[in-house]
């Protein structure tokens, strides 16, 4: 459908854990559930220290329209609620739950009443589901479309382009029926005419399975994508499926597309079917320091170190631990960090893989320019950033950068181009704000002058 193939890089696949079904780990001793695991306002805790909680019980309500409620995946007692230093650097209020191992299910867990679009959206909201591909945007807000005719295609993201991660692959293989129920829900309530499964061609079993499941169904198709990182990036996916590029600053809905991760869809279907909200995640545990890499089903809030221990512990001292995949993942300073709603992998690397490479001078080879899926010019952006040239950064449209990491991956001089782009975005914003302020000052001066002339005239 697309006019041209977008660039990318051939990141190594390393899908070591794809073949085996996920294992459920025993409930950890303590759950630490941060109130902000999604884009938008943090959730507000509904429990206090000393309260007993049961599985599936709501412990925090949504903090605003763009927000999401939080449920607990283990039964036990709330120990404390305090601010914890999160990997992003901010202090996030976190609910500490001391588990009792009983896993008693809460009475509040019951399938919701879904009869029309509004009740469906309420159900999605109540499920606590956010973008489970890693972005963490509240799905209820994404699906709250005012004009249903605007939706031309819903793309189900089964690309999973990052190295190592296989949790979406397992969802597609093990929960395929839930995904199809989710498809049915979308067709029924959102009246979606076209649903496309986007699956990378390094997962041939998933493609085959869904081709069989969607055989004969009108309005549902399976598209095999090349195994080129970043096929799972929203803009890239939409372009490859619809041939349209989302303009800068706009949303996918403005080109008629909604992208929803396959695990997100499965979680919504699960809630509608059983009433169990989002309380646990299937997380890929891999990396050169992990003894037994596997996919693990863990309650949200489980500390990383418990998950690593369940996977046999470390065979080498972990020197770098990541949330997410190696291309866009965030490295964490300690192993106390919990599994969040948006976590789909934790990776631990030994010393050899952990050392960042030494950066050398840019040789202007242009590999970053060739690799960028959005046609940006990272080498020129770096030059403009070092010169603090806001006008040039605006010309180069650094604000479009999705920080996928292709440029840094391709760079032979090992330059931190993604980091430069992030900083350049700040420089650009400051420049644009200064420009706006000056324009307004000039306008005010003009108007004052005009007012004076009018007075004297």
């Amino acid at each position: 459908m697309a006019l041209r193939r977008l660039s990318g890089v051939h990141a190594p696949h390393r899908k070591n854990t794809a073949a085996v079904a996920p294992v459920r780990m025993p409930v950890p001793a303590m759950l630490t559930i941060p109130m902000s695991m999604h884009i938008g306002a943090p959730a507000k805790p509904m429990v206090s220290p000393g309260d007993t909680v049961k599985v599936g019980q709501k412990i925090a309500e949504a903090g605003g329209f763009v927000s999401s409620p939080i449920y607990t995946g283990a039964s036990g007692t709330v120990k404390k609620i305090e601010g914890v230093l999160a990997s992003g650097g901010a202090y996030v209020p976190t609910v500490f739950i001391e588990t009792d191992g009983q896993q008693e299910v809460s009475e509040t867990v019951s399938p919701p009443e879904v009869t029309d679009l509004q009740s469906f959206l309420n159900a999605v909201r109540e499920s606590g589901v956010v973008g489970l591909g890693g972005a963490g945007f509240p799905t209820a807000v994404k699906l709250a479309v005012k004009d249903l005719n605007q939706i031309e295609a819903v793309i189900i993201n089964g690309a999973e382009c990052e190295p190592y991660i296989t949790s979406d692959t397992r969802t597609m293989l093990d929960d395929a029926d839930l995904i199809m129920e989710g498809v049915a829900l979308l067709q029924k309530y959102l009246e979606v005419k076209r649903i496309v499964f986007g699956i990378e061609n390094n997962k041939p079993e998933c493609i085959k399975k869904f081709q069989e499941l969607t055989k004969g169904q009108k309005g549902v198709e399976v598209m095999a994508l090349p195994s080129l990182y970043p096929q799972g990036g929203e803009k890239v996916l939409i372009y490859n499926v619809t041939g349209r590029m989302v303009p800068e600053g706009k949303l996918p809905l403005d080109v008629g597309a909604i992208v929803i991760n396959c695990t997100t869809l499965a979680a919504i279907a699960r809630y509608v079917k059983t009433g169990m909200p989002l309380i646990e995640k299937c997380v890929t545990v891999d990396g050169s320091a992990v003894k037994e890499p596997k996919n693990v089903i863990v309650p949200i809030g489980t500390p990383m170190k418990d998950v690593f221990e369940f996977c046999g512990g470390f065979k080498a001292e972990p020197k770098k631990v990541l949330y997410g995949g190696p291309m866009m993942g965030i490295s964490v300073p300690d192993l106390e960090q919990p599994i969040l709603k948006s976590t789909n992998a934790i990776l631990a690397f030994d010393k050899k893989d952990a050392e960042p490479p030494r950066e050398t001078a840019c040789i202007k080879c242009g590999r970053c320019i060739a690799a960028c899926p959005l046609n940006l010019m990272p080498a020129d952006i770096e030059t403009a950033f070092l010169l603090k040239d806001g006008a040039m950064l605006e010309k180069l449209r650094v604000n479009i950068c999705m920080e996928c990491g292709c440029c840094s991956f391709a760079c032979p001089a090992k330059r931190p181009l993604v980091q430069t782009n992030k900083l350049a975005k700040q420089t650009l914003r400051a420049y644009q704000e200064a420009k706006k302020a000056e324009a307004e000052k000039a306008k005010a001066k003009e108007e004052a002058k005009k007012a004076e002339e009018a007075k004297t005239a």
Partner: protein, 320 residues
Amino acid sequence: MSENMIVSVSPHVRSGMTTQKIMAIVLIALIPAFAASIVFFGARAIAVVAVCACAAVISEYIFEKITKRPSTIGDLSAVVTGVLLAFNLPVSIPLWMAALGSAVAIVVVKQLFGGIGKNFANPAITARIVMLLAFPTAMTTWTAANTVIHTGAVDAVTGATPLGLMAAGETAALPGLSELFFGQCAGCLGETSALALLIGFVILLCTGVITWHTPVVYVATVFVFTWLIGEDPVRHILSGGLLLGAIFMATDYSSTPSTAWGRVIFGLGAGIITTFIRVWGNYPEGVSFSILLMNILTPHISNWTRSKPLGMIVEKKGAN
């Protein structure tokens, strides 16, 4: 166990390509031409190449030592510059001149402008032009090539280069096309053998070190324009330093545009200027001057051929 973990920015996995590997691949691609130069010009070719490469590395090392900058000789770019300069010299060049040329290439053209990635002109080509102006007789004294291939063509190994003979109109003494293709004619060390250079081209293309745009467009432009003017196009692309320049010099990263269309324009401009100098100019060979002139135009070409970011919105003018 959890102290001293490394926290760094994404991405945490990188491609295996490094600057040093790129330069190593270029050197490997130059080996066929090096072998050809030894076959046709004898053992002195080794001395010239060795002196140039060593002088380049030593001058880079000394310069970086004096200016208290970190040493970059490990990235092999000085070696590449030295070897490429040597391939632009006649085999009889006095070794001290070759060494001086290498020093000029590295210190003046590359290091004084900021080092690797910041030079605006191709170091080897510019140094060759400097040497041409500095040592005019030594740079235009050509030795006959060793007769390795007996094709029965008339007088295949005179002392003047094919382009020199063409400019003087002495068509009788011209080497045959097969001599030109294999390299059995007078000229600079690395420029005579089209076969060896094409092997190098294939190596560079397959490893992704260069893209096809500049070399193909450059050579095609010369072919088309010489044909339009009425000269023999095949002879023109096989003679002189065109293939060496198009494949190895016009593809230098920092002095040429980095987008596909930019490279096309570069090749087009270089081809036109080369043809003009060869046919109507005072010099028999125009490749080095045309590459230098296009290097100077490169910032403007880059401005014109900037990639268009996908999804960018251009504000209509007059919207105030």
